[in-house]
Amino acid sequence: MGIGLLVGLAVLEIALVVQAVMAFAQVEKVAERATFIGYLVGTLVIPLAALWWGKVERTRWGPGVIAVGAFTVAVMTGRLLQIWNGAA
């Protein structure tokens, strides 16, 4: 797994932590709170889980695992936005 991918993953994780902290601070604005928090925690865990599961794979399918994780985070962030706006 290349250093570029690792750096990208680290940047993503930092951004997700910032997002989660900001969202948690205003979580009382959200109606579906349990789902919202579930998604937030999910976005934090997924990149790490993808790294753990993908790093042992020495072929091009290892980064493929990271791609799956990143896509999932994208979808979940979209759902977070929907829940956030639905409550506003």
């Binding site: 789902t35 072929t59 399918w61």
Partner: protein
């Protein structure tokens, strides 16, 4: 199902213990990742549905829980190389998405857009429909290999 029969891969070692790649390795590793995502997503969704509004649509929510169970079984079976179990679960998954998908199109009121398999998984980019096909194809490639 049956490990004997079929043709031995030409570029593959005849001995069973040299599996290249393992069931949960190579492309299989990505497959496990996707199944893991669906296992978590379907489980959480079913849990929320059953905990908060089970009476609204018991059938749909029980199906959600069943789908979640199938995804969990598949994730573990693929990751650990239980080929036979994975095959069975993949078949159930394909049957489930086809049956529930068809029923949800024919009788939308029985399935208020609430399961992973409704509308052939249209709420999930049709991934639930494509996934078992890819899964079965991957498992079939392992037909002659010991797992």
């Amino acid at each position: 199902m049956n490990r004997v029969g079929g043709s031995d891969g030409a570029n593959r070692h005849a001995e069973g213990d040299t599996k290249v790649p393992a069931l949960g390795g190579g492309p299989g590793r990505v497959l496990v990742a996707v199944y893991a995502v669906f296992a978590v997503a379907a489980t959480s969704r079913a849990a929320v549905q059953i905990a908060t509004r089970f009476a609204e649509a018991p059938l749909a929510y029980l199906l959600s829980a069943f789908a979640a169970l199938v995804y969990i079984v598949l994730t573990v079976a693929l990751a650990r190389g239980h080929r036979r179990l994975a095959f069975l679960a993949c078949g159930i998954e394909l049957a489930g998405v086809l049956i529930v998908g068809t029923l949800s199109v024919l009788d939308p009121e029985a399935f208020p857009h609430a399961t992973v398999w409704s509308g052939y998984g249209s709420g999930y980019l049709f991934i639930p429909l494509v996934l078992p096909v890819i899964g079965l194809a991957w498992l079939l490639r392992h037909r002659t290999q010991r797992t």
